[in-house]
Symmetry: C2
Subunit: 108 residues, 2 copies
């Protein structure tokens, strides 16, 4: 329904007032940003994003009240989850390869 990418897109739509500007800020095509918005609007009982489609500059976009609520709930879930799972999360991160150390010359 919503994950890190869609949540970031929602936040950027709120901040920029534009679906295309929000997608651009994430290095995403206009088409993909629209597709994600349409997926979110279809997944929830009420749309999350209201947009004035077309026109010069492509109209504008803003979050609906439901969109604001979804974004706030998502942030709350992340905070609660990160706090509760801090110990195994730190253990998992401790198993990662140290940054800057790589097994290939090109850093991949």
């Amino acid at each position: 329904m919503i994950g890190p990418g869609k949540a970031e897109l929602l936040g950027l739509i709120r901040d920029t007032g534009s679906i295309s500007a929000a997608g651009r800020a994430m290095g995403m095509s206009y088409k993909r940003a629209w597709m994600l918005v349409e997926e979110m609007n279809a997944a929830f009982a009420e749309p999350l994003v209201f947009s004035a489609r077309g026109g010069q500059g492509g109209g504008g976009a803003r979050l609906t009240a439901t969109g604001e609520t979804v974004l706030a709930l998502y942030a709350e879930i992340l905070t609660l989850a990160a706090t509760a799972a801090a110990t195994p999360l730190a253990a998992l991160e401790g198993l990662l390869r140290p940054r800057g150390q790589s097994d290939s010359a090109d850093g991949k």
Copy 2:
């Protein structure tokens, strides 16, 4: 580093003893399954999957001790996170469109 898709792939590699069988069970190409395994092996200080590449049947694959630990930590993180965030998660789910109800004829 690891998310739902990679965790599912790891679990299926453990269960099937094969990267290609695990990928197939997820409807994933052989190439993509290998790429995800290589990403995981590169992201962690120790490889998560040991594989005997090539040969008839493509060799076999199994999780390393680190791979087992990563999978166990991931499951623990999910459980703790879901418990801690149960209230806002339920609120978020309550905003979803009821299943079977769609705004388009083809159910998309």
